[in-house]
Symmetry: D2
């Protein structure tokens, strides 16, 4: 198992990373990535010795209790959470893919074991560039709009294309690439899944991050530690050896991996949403206290609405875990509860920010910086004027307002808003899944019974 220090070393592997138009020679030296790397490093150090001899994110859950423990670990490791979803998705896709070709299953076993033994972090790469959204992969003007096999050699395949929205891309060891959707006959070259190391030749990671730049980090109490870098991956004729190819042409299996991944992604997403919603409640309470208005009826009402949101999201998570289905390694959280909760959490998140901001007030925007408080001439005045309650200093109140801005009304706040919607696909995707998993036959039957109607044939 790696320590934080050895993790840092492992990132100096010649990978090609571009950030803001500049080539980053050593990601561990890039100030914009430092917070995120510290964050991941910490999740190594804290789990450096475990009973299983591996990081607990590699424990495949086989019971509801395991699932709950897993969620705890994911939340504790936060962003890293998403870095094991690909492994779980591979694990649950092992059987169906073996049905296509027994070698796929064997390679998956080997890959998972290597990840586990080397304590790797793994990014999932699904979304293609997609070109014209109204056309399938094979009908695109640009044949590379979806990542595809451009050459098949005896010892492996060569792939070309672009994968977008890759969380933590510059910070991982391996990239697992999956088809973004069900492919059809004639689209065999697009039905391709594989793993490559982050430093493989031909692969370029174009990174972005909401980490705060030159400004005083004290004004960014959350994002200085917890900004997630994202990446766009360019596969410019990348060679993948056979041992790492998990699918290459069997169109009928092309959505297996994405489907399996979706469940795990949305599970992480809703568990994170539940925690984040509690955080909004706590922050709303703190900011109300810092304003000395926590007992004002309309403030209490807004906090109550936040509590209702947070508790409903938590109820959704609990229901999804308790209704987990599948046997042994195939155990998965309930898909209806998972998708509906994901959609619900997205749908109301922005209104909840409105509540928090409404409780906080204009100081979210106009709070002086921490450096202003350091000023010899005006520091004292500012601190004095910022104090609103005897139980909290002006400095602490200032910190709370910067936190509200950082988390809800600045770069990281924007990231959370959009990520809340888009993680695991937008709300429309979850509505579709919800429709598919809802037991409509039962609902129709009981509605027909309730109104004394012979159940009509479904049209």
């Amino acid at each position: 198992m790696l320590t934080g220090e050895r993790y840092r070393e492992s990132l100096r592997d010649g990978r090609v990373v571009i950030l803001d138009g500049r080539r980053v020679d050593d990601v561990t030296k890039a100030p914009e990535l430092a917070g995120a790397i510290d964050w991941v490093a910490d999740t190594y150090d804290r789990y450096v010795s475990t009973p299983s001899g591996a990081h607990p994110m590699y424990d495949i859950p086989a019971s509801v209790g395991d699932l709950r423990r897993r969620i705890e670990v994911l939340l504790d490791c936060d962003m890293t959470a998403s870095l094991s979803a690909a492994v779980l998705a591979l694990a649950s896709s092992r059987s169906p893919l073996s049905a296509a070709d027994t070698r796929y299953g064997e390679r998956i076993d080997v890959f998972i074991e290597e990840c586990r033994r080397n304590d790797w972090r793994v990014a999932e790469a699904i979304t293609d560039a997609k070109g014209d959204r109204m056309l399938p992969p094979s009908k695109q003007h640009d044949p590379d709009a979806y990542l595809r096999v451009v050459e098949r050699r005896p010892e492996g395949i060569v792939v070309r294309g672009c994968k977008m929205h890759i969380t933590a891309a510059p910070l991982v060891h391996e990239i697992v690439v999956l088809p973004t959707k069900q492919m059809k006959r004639g689209e065999e070259d697009y039905a391709v899944a594989f793993a490559v190391p982050a430093n493989t030749p031909g692969l370029t990671t174009v990174a972005v991050t909401t980490a705060p730049r030159q400004r005083d980090e004290r004004d960014f109490p959350v994002s200085r530690h917890h900004a997630v870098p994202d990446g766009t991956l360019l596969f410019d004729d990348v060679f993948v050896p056979n041992e790492r190819v998990f699918l290459a042409g069997e169109v009928e299996h092309s959505s297996t991996l994405a489907h399996a991944l979706g469940t795990w992604e949305r599970t992480s997403s809703i568990a994170g949403s539940a925690r984040e919603a509690d955080l909004l409640v706590g922050l709303a309470q703190l900011v109300a206290e810092s304003n000395g208005i926590e007992r004002v009826p309309h403030i209490r009402d807004k906090i109550a609405e936040l509590i209702i949101y947070a508790t409903m999201v938590r109820a959704g998570v609990e229901a999804a875990l308790n209704a987990a289905y599948g046997e042994g390694d195939d155990l998965r959280p309930d898909e209806l509860f998972t998708n509906v909760t994901k959609c619900f959490a997205s749908m109301h998140y922005h209104s909840m920010l409105r509540n928090l901001q409404d409780i906080a007030g204009g100081l979210v925007l106009t709070a002086p910086s921490h450096a202003d408080l350091d000023d010899e001439e005006i520091g004292d005045q500012l601190r004095r004027y910022l104090q609103a309650s005897p139980s909290m200093s002006g400095t602490d109140r200032l910190r709370i307002f910067h936190a509200v801005r950082d988390l809800t009304a600045d770069a990281l706040g924007g990231w959370h808003m959009v990520a809340k919607i888009m993680s695991g696909g937008g709300m429309y995707a979850q509505k579709m899944v919800a429709r598919n998993h809802f037991d409509m036959a039962a609902a129709r039957r009981s509605a027909a019974q309730a109104i004394g109607l012979d159940l009509p044939t479904r049209p």
Copy 2:
């Protein structure tokens, strides 16, 4: 155990019931109450022989499994569900009330056993007339605005006052009366709980019901069977023997029963809401199919919103049951999840009706009656013009529209809307309970930690 038939007989006990200004000599003969009595009678017949020798609603749950079974029974018996909440509330209040006076506990045991043995249905009576809402009971202009003890005799007490919103009042055997809120010193006469038979002298039940009146019952496919009568109870110096007095002056225990009852009431309420929400989904699907538009995108989207609502309510119920707390007979569903789910279900119910009505269209209002279809001259024309899809006859389509009207846009529909809000207290009450049960200390702590703030003292 009673059969349906013996239940009917038992209601002919001289009780004083007034409906629409008329005295009802025999409730089983009142056409407005017939549907509801059939409904209760059926819940006797269906459970006439059980392993325990008692109706399962008398099985006190001692595990999450028991709770689930109980919910099943309640849903199966529907309205009757609320008729056992008082018994559960008494059971869980037994210990605290015994602390006040050991005789209270003993009387509760005896009463519950008699209810069980006689297979009685029991109404709960909490809400007082309340007079001026800004004043406590003891400061009211009218001292009877809250029900109170007007005389204490060696063998019992005499009470006077009014209890409102009594579900199923004219159909039960016993009335359990509780104080509506915490009483204070000086309000001993208002801290009174007891049980009386429905036919006790001095008690009058003023009944109301949404049962359809003279119109063709086919146009009321749901309310003809499932309209719940409510009642206002007038206690005009009613004598209660000591054996049925469970509290009479100990103000410090005055809210124990209401609190215990609240949890069970809201549990029934949310379980009912979950089922009802599924019913709305099913009905929306049926009505969309009957219109032949179930594949139109905006219709699918509205149904998806109904699915999300229904599934979130169900998640809330699941979470409340799984997080049940307390030992043995004291087991109770989690109060945070229960109250939040209750509030959530109320908050969005009306919008969900809007979705259903928007899917259905104007025929909800303008559908001809079933009797119109019987007309020799125009019946055929109407049936023909009402048909919108080869898979459903015009008559069936008509029935669906009448059901939508009956359930959402007529007397029973109105009852559901208001009952959805008010059962277990309005949304404000649930917000208060939610605030009290939400772990704000933890939320504050984790918010402070997330933003790097030393946890401020709570003001």
Copy 3:
């Protein structure tokens, strides 16, 4: 001009009306229609002498001031409001239809003048039975699913079909029939518009109404006066003389009338919504006062939300009128504001009912009847217990609760809910119109400019 009395006489004209499966020989004698007929009669009596010598609903507006006066008249005449939309629609369609055939324009002039002189009330008949919604009129299994010309004779046409959702159908003198949508080549027989008297041979009106039936009318303080009857019209080979045919085959003009009507219908609808929203505010205030809780913060907040809704709807009406366009008799309220306001008012109406019901409480459902208060033995008790504030008697409080139930949670309440959505077409229809009328070109242009982008060609 007619008086109320002569209006009543004019309804005894042999028309064929069926209600609840029974033939109504004389609509003025049917108790279910009495309230509505009184209502219309009253709008005759109140306007029996006017400067123009005609009912003001026949004054074609030619300025914003006229429009405002017209709205006042419509609101004053309420339901009758809709009874002149058809005339306005004919007036504004005069020119385009004359373009098709000059005789159409002449006949329209004659018809309007006769309506005006005879002081007729006119129903508009648009919506067809429609059969399979996924198919056009000419492809239906049943060729009569849309009303059509089945025979063309020298002196006129013969039509067959069904028109649904006809407001006030049994109470009017004339029916104006329009095509429900744009017809295509090959659908000439469906491109038909005409007027017929309500008693024309072959026409049957199947009426429905939310008027309260046998119960005490005091418990229905609104619906006893203001329930609107609706009707389904069956045209069983009805002959229409040429003088009353306004379109018969010119498919390219088939949507002209429906389009013109839509604007006027939605204008009436939003004006009515604005008034109704104010009524909800007033009722919420009254019910809060009757409960003595009008100063409680969360109650005030709910009333404020009602005020915001009411004022935004009113703003929409004001904006639509002030932005009226067109010259002289062709003046029409702005379509964007009209449609958006209609959609907005529908979208939030149900939530506003929730607010009102939440303020009111359970007594909406469980209020004793007025007849109960007449009871010698318990009347006094009930009145006493119903009183919650020294400034309002128990009887008045009871009346308010019955009004809330009648208006929001009973048959008329259901009618309002669905009519609020469906009048002028459902919300989807208004969204489409809103999209069409919104100046997207300007919005795109200014967005492109704001972000420094050369305006892209619209794809």
Copy 4:
């Protein structure tokens, strides 16, 4: 009248501005303020010659037409809009303040004339530090929690305190200071209104801004030009000569100015909201086009919701202007419509951002930077993969996504979210004003009439 160039010069006046803890010697040289100064300078250049010989923002509106022209100017000058509200507020407060002391009115006249002649921009300073929100100014632990007169001299007054949330503070010539609320007897020192130049001794402006810092400005297409700096003003014993004192002790007039200002502020706010809402619609359309999905039903529906929001806000603005009241210079937009529209626009803004972000997708977060596109090796690839529609280049699509992020999900986006709520006071403030201005007497009366109730006395 000033040109942009002379405006810049005028800012080099020795004012004390602190930004991020550093003293800014010359605001025109601070890169963080450059965009905003350019913006203001441009509003000088564009209006350098006008018929009235003064900037049109100094034209006091005396008719609805004037109001509309004024709104046009304000929108054209944008941020600068708020810089004339103080002047209008002074103008409309002239009469009432003269009643207190005729000199106040004369000084106001002189001040307005000087502002006009010198073409000054003027900031309004209202909100005090406020200390403990539950206590009035005179009961605060810190007597300076509200700005106050600390010394009265023959030639003027000396003031101390802090004013927060001062839009554009570092960019204006004059500061107009008003009491934040109604003061009571004993709080004479807090009932103080005056004007001071931005460079007056003892005044320090602590500035903040959402202007983008070191990153490539192309990635911030809006904020690089349109970030508004805000400021906190510290009055450390500032001397104000009598000629600029407009109130100093007359507590009964203390809320006159704030009230007058509120209306003008909220008018600017809603006019800006209407324009911004149209911008969101346009941006949503552009981003949908750039994704090639503008015809997908659920996308169209989300855009329709944006259109409804934008149009309702616009309707509110139109209604407020058309219902303007008051004579001549005292003309003001209707307060009910203004406040309600302000509250409505705030309430739903966050949900509208959700719609836009949901339409856009994850690229809002993960879009490569413009500098990445400059890269010789990968620029072409990125451009190719970013293209989704033949009618828009990858570079243009990238710009749109950066604009969506900049405007809704980054520092400026956060500023807009919070400013949308807080401008003119939070939503609670507007609800209060709305309640006060809504004609509740009429609503109660018509509700009572509708339900046949004698109008109850208001309790």
